[in-house]
Amino acid sequence: MVDSFPHEETPSTDEFIKGLWRENPVFVQVLGMCPALAVSNTARNALAMGLATLFVLLMSNVVISSLRRFVPKEVRIATYILVIATFVTIVDYVLQAISLDLHKALGAFISLIVVNCLILGRAEAFASKNTAGKSAMDALGMGLGFTAALLSLGAVREILGSGALFGLPLFHDGFQPWVVMILPSGGFFALAGWLLLFNALQERRARLASPAAEPMR
């Protein structure tokens, strides 16, 4: 298990990597659950949603961190929301232009990226305090971590729920899909399962780490 990040590396790398695993937005920070659950019924939807969020996160992080010197803190949040809503609207239209079907499958959840706590959270906690370059790395890491989490949820749900991945059937015709996995309750169960796995891994790591810590005392 690779869990040590060398501190002598440039900060940007760490900014990038932390979002993928150690501070994964979905599995560790438990942020942005609504879209994670709602559009992860197929891997394709999950990937599209992840990338859309990544785009909004990246753009708004960069814009907000470049503007951070010009925006007084009283109107900070209002500006963030304006910027985020703008990029979400843009994603909405671009996606409609790319594929109407995909846009229909994601439905209102594209618009709901606006209220994804992850984006406002990164804007407030990171982009408002750091340079544009660092914020971009942070956004890329968090966005990719979010996409990876969505994809892993979506893959599990699609494989079990429709016996396919990215719409390609994986099994022979006789496969019995577990319909529950593409229903809302299946989303809850699948995410709970992933969280259990993460918790178990962390507990195991803590157990393995503790004997090493003992000589220190």
Binding site: Q176, V179, M181, G186
Partner: protein, 341 residues
Amino acid sequence: MTTPARTLEIRTSPHIVSGYSVDTIMFNVVLALLPTTAFAIYAFGLAALLTLTVAVGSCVLAEQLACRLSDRASTLGDWSVAITGLLYGLTLPPGLPLWMVAVGGFFGVALAKSLFGGLGLNAFNPALVGRAFVQAAFPVAMTSWMPGFTADRFVSVPGSTLTLPLTKPVYDGVTSATPLSLWKFDGQLSEVGDLALGFVGGSTGETCGLLILLGGAYLVARNMMNWRIPVAIFTVVATASASLYALDAERYAPPLFMLFSGGLMLGAVFMATDMVASPMTSLGCLLYGALIGGLVVVIRVWGGMPEGVMYAILIGNAVSPHIDRWIQPRVYGSRVGEPAP
């Protein structure tokens, strides 16, 4: 932590007033379920026997695995898991592929029991969670009913039972309909006599209402079951459907049909009375039963599904902590109306 001294016996809930130990009660529940189980096997033959065996086996296996993983002592000795498995098996349609039976048993015990800490700590009835999971996962298989009393039921099983794991079942023979779906979708009423005696289609253990009542009466007589819950359910279902029937006999079903059809008997007598997932006070149990009865009527009459007992009981389970909060037993020494500390 040290183990408590043996002189004083400390138990987790259920704190049963009767003074019986958990395993005595559980053994008696098995006894009370015996007639129903026997009838299920008589009516559906080998298919029912296999379904019940796999149901019990999967639940026991899940519990055993969970105990091993969480370093808890094995709980097989107290029969509770076996009962969960038996009840779960009795709610399944005969002819359901055995691998689906196993999936439901495993998930029911894992989701609703083991992850919450085991016996006495489940918020929902594990047998019903298992059934609800299978119902949501495999809706087609769960609504394909095999007719009972076929001539060759003791020598052969339907092709669907032995479906290979993870594959779709193929229904070779005729499937029958349950009285409730006949009523809901085709407006046909079944004879109440047939319903009470179990000569209709349905889940393995829900067809014969009289034998279920017999088992319930035995448990009540031995003071091992809270009679208030089933009585409240029956009363509400009977009065609600009687008033609807009086309003419009064409549209609504008569009360006796509502009482003896579907899983109402099995659910009210053996599922809703799960000691851990139901309220603690007598008044609370009456309310809880009334809520379940009301929901059953609403879902059956106006909902999209012909049967709603399972959902009604699960929602009842979810509401029961609130009932316990509203109606608390008076703490000794406190005045009426004063909240318990």
